[in-house]
């Protein structure tokens, strides 16, 4: 019964697709004329859906993309298929190719990050590199990283800190402390997600399936570290600036109404590279590595420096440590 009605709907979509003017090209999946929630409503409402979708050319691939599952539980073939659809869609829209990876976590790896508060000078090269690497929305100036300028008299006090400074840095009497997603080992954002669109991978990276996220922003509220960002509008990146080396769970282009955040540059870190912020930092304040490897730099820091984490009492176990010289 239900299958029949879905087939009927599909036929309706295909028919309407033939009728509509295709001059606008196949609208990108990231800018669906209707989203998942309203589509369900539309299905419940019967043939209303055909009217809602009449603006979009609705091919079979689009239908499959639309009703795909959660990336977390997809088989390898399903993952390959969705990536093929997304890449084809992007090429159809822009004429350029993207390389979307589905690389899985490496074995025996748990990523950790260390931030040297004494070294950070507030230059903000990390923020710039992050925005460019991760295709963040240029209009709303979305940034995963914040650099907080703090007065040495006040110590680490976020209420008295300034993360919008525009003057020359470093300024006398101030120190600089960067925050981003801490990839907690016990992440509160993952617990609250009602649709399991965000989860922790075995290498410790907390990821989001942008296509499964319903945009409820529970995770944004649950995160004690201001680590998550929401797309209030359709994010845009000028085509020449789009980073084409992407990961499904990382920097592929997002759409309106979904969450995103730092992924430790999953598209880079799983290839052995450092995240863009670490590579860009001119002062060496940022260290990244495998905390299971006793010879790694990050382990040296954990074992030899006086490290601390933010809000440790919450039991979130962030894998992001601060230290001083």
């Amino acid at each position: 019964m239900i299958i029949d009605s879905i087939k009927k709907l599909q036929n309706l979509f295909n028919q309407s697709a033939e009728k509509v003017d295709e001059s606008g090209g196949v609208k990108q999946v990231f800018e669906k004329p209707i989203d998942r929630r309203s589509s369900l409503k539309a299905m419940a409402g019967g043939f209303v859906a055909s009217a809602a979708l009449s603006g979009a050319g609705c091919s079979d691939a689009k239908w499959q993309e639309y009703f795909k599952g959660n990336y977390k539980v997809m088989t390898d073939e399903e993952r390959k298929a969705t990536i093929a659809r997304l890449s084809a869609n992007y090429e159809e829209r822009t004429g350029h190719k993207v390389n979307i990876s589905d690389k899985k976590p490496n074995e025996n790896t748990l990523f950790g990050y260390a931030f040297n508060v004494s070294k950070c000078q507030g230059y903000g090269d990390c923020i710039s590199a992050c925005v460019e690497e991760n295709n963040q929305d240029r209009d709303t100036e979305m940034q995963y990283i914040r650099i907080h300028e703090m007065n040495k008299k006040n110590g680490i006090n976020f209420e008295m800190a300034d993360d919008t400074f525009t003057h020359q840095v470093p300024q006398e009497g101030n120190f600089y402390l960067g925050t981003q997603c801490f990839h907690c080992d016990n992440p509160p954002c993952v617990k609250v997600c009602p649709v399991e669109a965000t989860w922790q991978e075995t290498d410790g990276i907390v990821v989001i399936d942008y296509d499964w996220c319903v945009g409820c922003r529970y995770c944004l509220a649950a995160c004690p570290y201001d680590g998550r960002r929401f797309n209030w509008k359709q994010p845009t990146v000028p085509e020449p600036e789009v980073n084409k080396e992407q990961h499904y769970l990382g920097n592929r282009l997002r759409k309106k109404g979904v969450m995103e955040k730092c992924t430790f540059c999953v598209q880079r870190s799983r290839e052995g590279k450092n995240p863009a912020c670490v590579e860009a930092c001119p002062t060496g304040a940022r260290t990244f590595g495998n905390i299971l490897d006793p010879e790694s730099e990050i382990r040296y820091i954990l074992e030899n420096k006086k490290v601390f984490r933010l809000k440790e009492d919450l039991g979130t176990e962030p894998k992001f440590w601060y230290y001083m010289d």
Binding site: N106, E107, N108, T109, L110, A114, N116, K119, Q121, G122, Y123, G124, D125, I127, S128, V131, T140, E141, Q143, I147, D163, T164, T166, H167, Q168, V169, P170, D185, N186, R268, S269, E271, G272, K273, N274, C281, P282, T283, G284, T287, F288, G289, N290, I291, L292, D293, P294, E295, S296, E297, I298, Y300, I301, N304, K305, G315, E317, K319, Y323, D325
Partner: protein, 216 residues
């Protein structure tokens, strides 16, 4: 008598139950999640089990192997980066003789180098450069050090930085986090003649956030 004993028993039981209950509540409050350090300890690391390598990100790099603080790694080749190395191509006679020629030769060759490193009582050119062999540097005790291994000179004073650099808490990696380890050496980030970092404007300013702040 009996009521006295039983009342004490009741108090003990209540106290025990209370402490158990509060334990349970505390556990729930923190979630029964184990510390990430316990995760590290519980996973013995097998070096060969990681196929991850940063070799492909290090292609075409000119490196030199070093051992510092018992750790083996590579640093970037410095000598090949210095313009007009070897220095002896110009400095083919002792410095004193060159200085005597100065009035005849006009403009100084290294006019743009101004030493802003410690003070004049502590350091001058000769602290690192050898007067008689400009192709190499020398330590306080006169041991010869190549330009590639200039970190050995820095470590004479900056011991803690040196240890942290060898370990990984100071400085920067090249290529990525995976092995093999290639690091930047001291002079890749610090100008040895003026090692402190400059003041400058932040590279990206978030105009939206600045606007929001102005409205407050």
């Amino acid at each position: 008598m009996k009521t006295w004993v039983s009342s004490i028993l009741i108090i003990v039981v209540v106290l025990l139950a209370g402490s158990l209950l509060s334990n349970l509540i505390m556990n729930n409050h923190h979630g029964n999640h184990k510390s990430v350090f316990k995760t590290i300890e519980s996973k013995p690391y097998e070096p060969d089990s990681i196929p991850m390598s940063s070799v492909k990100h290090l292609a075409y790099l000119d490196t030199v192997s070093v051992t510092a603080e018992g750790r083996h790694f590579a640093i970037l080749n410095r000598e090949n980066e210095i313009t007009s190395f070897k220095c002896s191509e110009c400095h083919n006679e002792p410095l004193e003789e060159l200085k005597a020629l100065k009035p005849k030769m006009g403009k100084k060759s290294h006019w743009n180098i101004e030493l802003q490193h410690a003070n004049a009582e502590t350091m001058n050119c000769n602290t690192c450069h050898s007067e008689n062999n400009m192709d190499e540097l020398h330590t306080f005790t006169g041991a010869r050090v190549s330009f590639n291994n200039s970190y050995k000179l820095c470590s004479q004073c900056h011991q803690q930085e040196y240890k942290d650099w060898a370990g990984g808490a100071h400085g920067k990696r090249v290529g990525g986090w995976a092995k093999p380890v290639v690091k930047r050496t001291c002079t890749n980030c610090h100008n040895p003649h003026s090692p402190s970092f400059p003041h400058k404007y932040p590279s990206r300013i978030n105009t939206r956030m600045v606007e929001q702040r102005a409205k407050k």
